[in-house]
């Protein structure tokens, strides 16, 4: 098992190197001059532009620029933005916020999704099952933009102005974990719906399996049959889904972050691509790749725990 983990981690190195190169190249290939476009409508003083281009090595050929960047990375210097902010400081600050948001979303997703799916699977064909299925359908079809604004208005504004109950902040991350509840839910919305459906199908299928019938025949209590025998086997596809979703939740939170004014990496990435801030884009994407790799490794290891037949040598 230990050797397996080490092998997987070594495999990650070329992936990371390759992705920094590709991302650097992609941003490099974007049209327009990043310095000139910083100025907007007024013509920037060409002297100022020339000096800044020199400072940020923008006149050098691509490979030389990339070399400067990689050389810096190896000594722990991830470069600076055009506003002279250290990229490492910038990403560190934003990453914390994004982890908080993604984790809140993931926990809500796991609790609500698995909970509802379990409930629906055990009451299959009954009214509650149909109700849950219908509500997941609604959740899937309403865009994040809408859920975001509606919940912000209902819980953040209306609830406070009409009842004085000031629990859900409208925006920002000023109020500790409470700040992440509503945005976390909005971000997890669609995933909750998918996970509910996945749990329901997976569990319903397992409940019909031979070993479950055996367990029931042995006279085991229903709780034990569902909890220990059926659910554990049904979890494998769910864990895969959750693991892959973590990366999506972290990098794909642009809309949610902007509605709730959460200073995370989603928004930063969006803006940096727009402003062609190569070091920031590469830094963030590399970090996301790393998260994906680790989450996948973790999921693979969990398989072995959930299903003893799977072994890693």
């Amino acid at each position: 098992m230990g050797r397996y983990i080490i092998r997987r981690l070594i495999q990650a190195i070329p992936v990371l190197l390759g992705s920094t190169f590709l991302i650097y190249l992609t941003v490099f290939a974007l049209p327009g001059d990043p310095i000139a476009s910083l100025a907007g409508e007024k013509r920037t003083d060409p002297t100022v532009v020339a000096i800044l281009r020199e400072q940020y090595h923008l006149n050098d050929p691509f490979f030389l620029q990339y070399w400067y960047y990689i050389k810096g990375v190896f000594v722990g210097d991830f470069g600076t933005t055009f506003a002279k902010v250290e990229v490492s400081d910038l990403i560190a600050g934003k990453f914390q916020v994004t982890i908080n948001l993604a984790m809140t979303a993931l926990i809500l997703e796991a609790i609500i999704g698995v909970g509802l799916g379990l409930w629906a699977a055990l009451r299959r064909g009954q009214a509650i099952d149909s109700a849950i299925l219908a509500s997941t359908l609604i959740l899937i079809s309403v865009p994040t933009l809408v859920t975001g604004f509606v919940l912000q208005l209902l819980l953040g504004v209306q609830l406070k102005t009409s009842t004085g109950f000031d629990f859900f902040p409208v925006a920002g991350v000023y109020d500790g974990w409470r700040s992440y509840l509503v945005p976390g839910f909005v971000l997890a919305g669609v995933s909750i719906a998918y996970l509910t459906r996945l749990t329901r199908t997976s569990l319903a299928e397992t409940l019909r399996a031979d070993f479950v019938r055996t367990a029931v025949a042995k006279g085991l209590p229903r709780r034990r049959v569902v909890g220990r025998h059926a659910l554990r086997n049904a979890l494998i596809p769910l864990v895969t889904y959750l693991g892959a979703d973590l990366g999506t939740l972290m990098g794909g939170a642009v809309i949610t972050e902007s509605i709730f004014n959460i200073p995370g990496i989603g928004q930063e990435l969006f803006r940096s691509v727009y402003e062609r801030q190569q070091p920031v884009v590469v830094g963030i994407v590399t970090l996301l790749v790393l998260v994906y790799i680790l989450a996948n490794l973790f999921v693979d290891l969990l398989y072995a725990v959930l299903d003893p037949r799977i072994r890693y040598e």
Partner: protein, 545 residues
């Protein structure tokens, strides 16, 4: 047994995740004080993230300027009548508009206790002008004698580090010599780029340090609480500076809250988490009018939007009758009210109503008259195909499309609309002659003088160094500008600039379409919110309720 182990791992992961989430919540963020609390509770204002660290001479956008304006006191400010009044300056005098003597009021100190002296201005302005420092507002100092030595241009090495035209005669007297007389010089001095800098701002080599730009020591009524973590900090907190000798604000704490979307800030204002928004999102304006009532502010903003005509690139637009016809075919009122949801007003001059020198209804051909437009266009034999270019990054698509619809319907011509990635891209293509059509253009002023709507955009010199993208050139116009610059007083200068603007109306190098408006709102926790000509809140008039 394995089952239990698995369950443990899952439970463990969940706990870990919770712990991570909890830690993050505690660190790095501060809770926001509520204005209702009275006492030391802060007045909170919405801003967008400042583009740069706080270098006054590198701040050319409104968000950073808003913060700096609370930390610094300028030499002059602008009163309710759009006139310049002295602030930190005791007097600004000149006999020939060329050599200006600025006397400073006594008693002003930096937040570190040192007195504000004339040398602070000399140091700051020299730093701003020296080209290797790459300060984006350096062009403001271009009129000062000796500027060319510090900023000789691309690829050349500066000859000096100090401008010959700047002299601190004594601690309270600053002497500024300009290359050419300029009557509007005092008007410029209220702008961010002209703030002085204390000794503590500079390192041994005479550069402003990054530490200073994060935690600027100002000379204004507020001081900054801690170094600004750009990109990560969501608030910028200021506290009243007790030793400030001038008129102080009536509250102790000011907090800027950084938002990426003003819609979000408006919801926060409704819920009582933010007090002032200086520009509401267009989508919020109709509800703000009813919900905020008296607390909704609408006033002219000094910006202006045009349709630019590529005079030097395309002879098809040479005949002024064609430009007049295009202008008359544009329904400015509907565009302002519908497309812009009332955040603009129809333009009827080249000078904005917020600024001294504006004449209501000056531009007769800016009135919508489709019948006359059609006749004039046909008579002048205007081109059958018109092109309209816009930069797709600034929300201009809608109004440009609306103009295109107007032109198609009223002139009976074909109009193609072409989006460009950024404004710079339009200019590049015009230069390369790959695009020959009209283009959208906007202007926000640098200092509130009518001169600023004319020289940088329409003077012959500005075709090379400024924003004269039309390539317009008119000798009479240039001469009037020089006369205005050399006029004995600011007021007489304004009258001459007015005449210059009238030439533009006759020749229409650009077609003015709309003036910007300020649509601000504030919460019931504050009163007396006023916004000045530079789009900055007048903190001395704001009071907590």
């Amino acid at each position: 047994m394995r089952v239990t182990k698995g369950a443990k791992i899952i439970a463990g992961t969940a706990l870990l995740a919770l712990a991570v989430a909890a830690c993050g919540g505690g660190g790095g963020t501060s809770s926001t004080p509520d204005a209702t609390g009275g006492g030391d509770a802060a007045v909170r204002m919405e801003i967008g993230e400042p583009q740069k660290l706080f270098y006054p001479s590198d701040t050319t956008e409104t968000e950073g300027a808003e913060v700096l304006a609370a930390l610094f006191t300028p030499l002059v400010k602008y009163d309710d009548d759009k006139k310049v009044v002295n602030d930190l300056a005791a007097s600004i005098e000149s006999t020939d508009n060329k050599v200006w003597t600025v006397k400073l009021k006594p008693g002003y100190t930096w937040h570190n206790g040192e007195p504000v002296i004339a040398q602070n201005y000399v140091d700051a302005w020299n730093f701003a002008s020296y080209q290797d420092n790459a300060q984006s507002a350096s062009y403001f100092f271009g009129r000062i004698a000796g500027y060319a030595d510090l900023a000789p241009g691309e690829g050349k090495t500066p000859k000096a580090k100090e401008m010959s035209g700047l002299k601190a005669v004594d601690d309270s007297t600053l002497e500024v010599t300009l290359t050419n007389p300029f009557s509007q010089f005092p008007v410029m001095l209220g702008y961010t780029a002209f703030y002085p800098l204390p000794k503590a701002a500079f390192d041994a080599s005479g550069k402003v340090t990054e530490d200073y730009a994060r935690k600027p020591i100002g000379n204004g009524y507020f001081q900054i609480d801690k170094a600004y973590g750009k990109g990560t900090d969501q608030t910028i907190d200021l506290t009243l500076y007790d030793k400030y000798p001038g008129e102080k604000p009536k509250f102790n704490k000011l907090q800027f809250k950084v938002y990426t979307k003003t819609e979000t800030a408006y919801n926060d204002l409704r819920a009582g988490h933010v007090d002032i928004i200086d520009q509401l999102a267009a989508s919020n304006i109709s509800s703000a009018k009813t919900e905020l009532g008296e607390r909704y502010i609408e006033q002219p903003d000094a910006g202006i939007g045009y349709i630019g005509v590529p005079l030097k690139y395309n002879p098809e637009y040479e005949n002024v009758k064609i430009r007049e016809a295009i202008s008359m075919a544009i329904d400015r009122k509907t565009i302002s009210e519908t497309v812009f949801s009332g955040t603009r007003s129809p333009a009827d001059d080249f000078i904005n109503p917020a600024i001294d020198g504006y004449k209501q209804g000056a531009c007769a051909v800016c009135t919508y008259d489709p019948a006359k437009a059609k006749a004039a266009y046909a008579e002048a034999n205007g081109p059958k195909l018109l092109e309209l270019g816009y930069n797709a990054d600034g929300g201009h698509k809608e109004w440009i499309e609306a103009v295109a619809i107007n032109l198609r319907a009223n002139l009976g011509v074909e109009v193609t609309v072409k989006p460009f990635e950024k404004f710079q891209a339009i200019l590049d293509e015009l230069d390369k002659k790959t695009y020959k059509g009209m283009f959208r253009m906007g202007w926000a002023i640098d200092y509130p003088s009518p001169e600023n709507y004319l020289t940088p955009i329409f003077s012959t010199d500005a075709a090379k160094t400024g924003s004269n993208y039309a390539g317009y050139s008119n000798k009479e116009f240039d001469e009037l500008l020089v006369k205005g610059d050399t006029a004995p007083t600011v007021e007489e200068g304004v009258a001459l600039y007015r005449q210059a603007a009238d030439i533009l109306i006759k020749e229409l190098p650009y077609i003015p379409v709309y003036f910007y408006k300020i649509n601000a709102g504030f919460s019931e926790h504050v009163k007396g919110v006023k916004i000045n000509l530079l789009n900055q809140v007048e903190w001395t008039s704001v009071e907590k309720v």
